[in-house]
């Protein structure tokens, strides 16, 4: 199958790759670009372990073709934190015990990242609804809700002054 030459931004870096037209974005990210944070859990867009941010929207990268990302902007868990620290969501998941096996976590974080931009001051019901495309088998979601509340508060709070 003739390969396509595509280029896009991943975590602020421009990349160029050769892909078969049928290659899924998750495979390009994981196998060509070695960004293995995003995972494959179901291949049917139900579990959300492969969630990344594409052009300002959450997408399930197991059901997006790599060629659809051509010219686009992709953010994965590897690019979530900036400046060497942790993103408030990453802090929240750790503080509130929002993960166990960790397999769903990158997808959860990336969905929560976009969700908090869509809904910066969410209620618990908003969070549960907004995260309903991401499945977790370990936590029962209760601490994931708390982790996102933690991040929402931190993102809303004015910058701390020394």
């Amino acid at each position: 199958m003739a390969k396509q030459h595509i280029s896009f931004n991943v975590n602020g870096q421009s990349v160029e790759v050769l892909v078969e037209p049928r290659e899924l974005l998750i495979h390009t990210l994981r196998e060509q670009l070695n960004l293995t944070g995003s995972h494959i859990g179901c291949e049917t867009s139900h579990c959300g372990a492969c969630t990344v941010d594409l052009n300002g929207k959450s997408v399930k990268s197991c059901t997006v073709l790599a060629v659809q990302a051509n010219g686009g902007d992709v953010l994965t868990v590897e690019g979530l934190a900036s400046g060497g620290g942790l993103h408030p969501l990453q802090e929240g998941f750790m503080e509130e015990h929002g993960l166990q096996c960790g397999f769903c976590t990158p997808g959860m974080l990336m969905r929560a990242y976009r969700f908090l931009k869509e809904c910066p001051q969410p209620s618990e019901a908003d969070i549960r609804e907004g995260m309903s495309g991401n499945l977790c088998r370990c936590t029962g979601y209760q601490n994931i809700v708390k982790a996102i509340q933690y991040a929402a508060e931190k993102l809303q709070a004015p910058e701390e002054t020394p």
Binding site: G41, A81, C138
Partner: protein, 799 residues
């Protein structure tokens, strides 16, 4: 170097009892986990499996030519190719054999027929489509209750004429074993003399653990050194090493199994599957690393499922509700091969804990295992071997009895619960329950939820035609397999192990025979060592899962890490402390009896300031030792538990059922657990939330359904129910602490209790909502449709 004696506080020690933040989290939240599918080795090929579309069929021919001709395909393997290596069949954990690749016939839909090895996963998937298999369909057996009919199809032709199985006589071509426990004659007498008896047929449906990461491996054979390394999603890497060595003929020292980060197990990753075996064969044959990763359909269809117990329960009782006898008969559907994951001598697991938390004088249980044309299994889905089935049976039966006697469901429990003064309690089935105070736990829960108020509200709602149910479960688990005198897997006793090395500067590394899959071992084991040795847990590195470095252990499943692995950890630490005491006495020029341990140091009794910290002792262990003592500060412990542990809990659930739609809303779920000593309360709460959510999934929607032709109806996450954050209830947790008297730190294990205990609690709540309509039992799952059908049958949905 003279180490300074810093003061260690509870804050810096982070020992047992503190909610220490998890050491695993930093890598997972930054996308730096290392799961099997993340592993990429130079020259790695991909394996994909050709599977049967038929549940039962003879294979007339397999044509692999077109697949082999596809560019990028390196090999196509069938049973014929594995025969010369004698690897076309493999032993199962249950003493049966299983076809690695179908040998002349297929016995369940999605059975492994051939394996394709190719340059990448896309070419492998293409090649799978090009393998041509000609099948001749055979009659299919799906209903376990018809498995031993005289005219039932013969599923296992390879067992023709074998009247003796791994667990005694086989009575029929589809019969695997009969297993019995208890005193049948005493039970019969009790039933004859009883004021009242009840009986109930119950199905515990076939379900799948469905961890978010599927099973997979990367097998890599180094031809020059003759060394095989397999990175594998395994809950039991050491046992797998032994099995791989036995199957392959490679010396066990040449086999290295590594369980890296594992994306949830829940029992699904205990077994050895054909995909692993074929990847190993492929790497040995081709000399290149081979990766095999299941997709979700393969995971749900072919690797280990759980339950499928068809149960008939009976209770005999006095007219005042005192139970006098219990009898349970089970038909256990094991699928086409008995690949049940149990301790070898327990073909029905620990099912004979089915007398539960109750003081029942006479009991008898019988389980008959049968073959059907379904996937082989089954494993313990977030529970100890067959405990979930046992607990479900008794917790449902006691409610059936309460309804027959028109007794309150809490009152009948108080009447029958084992009393605190009866511990250690000898059950009618022969178990010795270690410790507990069941009535106190039940009182605590009833008070917390205002049980009387809830019953009053229910009565008012019932009068208005509304459906509200209150479910109770007062359950006891038996976990921590187990004492090697009774528990083994393939002849290896079910001990577990820990090895600790304290470095000269006072930090430490410890390795265990267990393997975490989300339970947080890297966090909690360090807390145990911290409390025993006074080394801050942040200075203790925990490693598991690499058979080249970790001591041999039986792995993590059946809630055995805390009862067995944590016990080994504590005892290994105590060996170090015993040596440290001798060194301290030498350094302090005092007698061993004259010094005492205090948090992180030994002190000379009555001499303020005469003390040596563990850090100072560690340094001395490498340069300033008592005469004749060997240097170093290390220990290893292989722990053979004297008994199982018996965690317990009291759960209460309140449901409201929409009588027009069948939708069930869980208004309240209150879970009190007693797991003995609590190592990390934050992690315990997390484990309980997770277990309750898995229990909720089982009760409300999970079921692996086959049609009469053996077609699996629903093997993607579109159809197989995993609840989202929206449906999942809010959980309330509580606890009591009754340490296990025989465990070194009194801990019992906790992660599986919420799954085991919640499922009957949901069932009891749903049945309770319908009890006034004469319902004594209603099989799971309680999807809105199934519940609506029930309401329609009862006429409760009429306006």
């Amino acid at each position: 170097m003279a180490a300074t004696a810093e003061t260690i506080t509870a804050d810096t020690l982070k020992g047992v009892g503190t909610s220490r933040k998890r050491k695993e989290d930093p890598r997972f939240i930054q996308g730096k986990g290392n799961y099997v599918d993340d592993i990429k080795l130079p020259g790695m090929l991909f394996a994909d499996v050709v599977r049967s579309p038929y549940a039962h069929a003879r294979i007339k021919s397999i044509n692999t030519e077109r697949a082999k001709a596809l560019p990028g395909v390196h090999a196509v393997l069938t049973a014929e190719d594995l025969k010369p290596l004698k690897l076309h069949w493999m032993p199962t954990l249950a003493g049966d054999v299983q076809a690695v690749l179908a040998d002349e016939k297929v016995c369940f839909q999605e059975q492994e027929v051939a394996v394709v090895v190719a340059e990448n996963r896309y070419i492998a998937a293409d090649a799978v489509e090009l393998v041509e298999v000609d099948y001749e369909a055979l009659p299919v057996l799906i209903d376990a209750r018809k498995a031993t009919d005289a005219d039932a199809p013969v599923i296992r032709e390879d067992l023709a004429g074998k009247t003796e199985g791994a667990h005694g006589a086989r009575k029929h071509h589809n019969h695997i074993f009969t297993w019995e426990s208890g005193d049948q004659a005493a039970v019969e007498r009790a039933f004859e003399q009883a004021d009242v008896t009840v009986s109930q047929t119950m199905l515990y449906p076939r379900v799948h653990p469905c961890p978010l990461e599927t099973c997979g491996c990367v097998a890599s054979f180094d031809k020059i050194n003759g060394q095989l390394t397999v990175y594998m999603t395994s809950q039991a890497p050491h046992v797998v090493r032994t099995v791989v060595s036995m199957l392959s003929g490679l010396a066990e020292s040449k086999v290295r199994i590594v369980s890296p980060d594992i994306g949830g197990g829940f029992g699904n990753k205990v077994g050895v599957y054909p995909g692993y075996v074929t990847a190993i064969v492929a790497t040995i044959v081709l000399g290149r690393p081979v990766k095999w990763i299941e997709d979700r359909i393969e995971n749900i269809s072919a690797t280990a499922w759980a339950r499928d117990y068809h149960m008939d329960g009976e209770l005999a009782a006095d007219s005042d509700g005192r139970i006098t006898a219990l009898r349970i008969n089970v038909i256990a559907d094991h699928g086409a091969f008995d690949a049940c994951a149990n301790a070898s001598k327990f073909p029905a697991g620990l099912f004979n804990v089915c007398s539960g938390s109750y003081d029942i004088p006479a009991a008898h249980a019988r389980v008959d295992g049968v073959y059907t044309n379904k996937a082989p299994g089954g494993v313990a889905y977030r529970c100890s071997f067959r405990i979930t089935e046992a607990v479900y049976a008794i917790e449902r039966m006691i409610d059936v009895l309460a309804q027959k006697l028109d007794m309150d469901k809490a009152e009948i429990r108080f009447k029958n619960l084992i009393k605190p003064e009866q511990f250690p309690y000898q059950s009618a089935f022969g178990w010795q329950y270690d410790s507990g105070d069941y009535p106190a736990a039940l009182h605590k829960v009833l008070d917390a939820v205002d049980y009387d108020g809830l019953r009053k509200e229910q009565a008012e709602k019932r009068a208005r035609g509304e459906l509200m149910g209150i479910g109770l479960a007062t359950f006891t688990e038996v976990v921590g397999a187990g004492p090697t005198k009774v528990c083994d897997i393939l002849g290896i006793g079910m001990f577990d192990s820990a090895e600790i090395r304290v470095h000269p500067t006072g930090s430490a590394i410890a390795r265990m025979g267990t393997i975490t899959q989300g339970q947080g071992h890297q966090t909690t084991y360090a807390q145990i060592i911290a409390s025993e040795l006074g080394i801050p847990s942040d200075d203790i590195q925990i490693e598991e899962g690499d058979t080249d470095t970790a001591p041999y252990g039986l792995g993590t499943y059946g809630s055995r890490s805390t009862p067995v692995g944590a016990a080994a950890t504590a005892l290994a630490a105590r060996k170090i402390r015993a040596k440290a005491r001798k060194i301290a006495a030498h350094l302090l020029e005092a007698g061993e009896d004259d010094i005492e341990w205090d948090v992180d140091r030994f002190k000379v009794k009555g001499v303020p300031g005469a003390e040596k910290t563990m850090k100072e002792i560690a340094w001395a262990a490498y340069n300033d030792l008592p005469e004749g003592m060997e240097p170093g500060l290390e220990s290893v412990d292989y722990y053979d538990p004297p008994n199982f542990t018996f965690p317990y809990g009291v759960y209460l659930c309140v449901v409201d059922i929409d009588r027009f739609t069948g939708e069930i809303s869980v208004r309240r779920f209150y879970a009190l657990d007693d797991c003995g000593t609590r190592i990390n309360p934050m992690i315990i709460d997390g484990q309980i939330h997770g277990g309750l959510t898995e229990g909720f999934a089982v009760a409300m929607g999970q079921q692996i359904v086959y049609d009469e032709g053996g077609n699996l109806l629903g093997n993607t996450l579109m159809d197989y129910y995993l609840p989202t954050a929206v449906e999942t209830p809010h959980w309330e947790t509580d606890y009591t602490v009754t340490p296990s008297p025989h465990h070194p730190i009194g801990a019992k294990g906790v992660a599986e209790s919420p799954h085991v205990g919640s499922i009957p609690c949901f069932s009891n709540a749903v049945v309770d909502a319908l009890a006034h309509a004469g319902v004594t039992h209603f099989d799971m799952p309680y999807s809105a449709y199934r519940t609506w059908q029930k309401l329609d049958e009862l006429g409760l949905n009429k306006r």
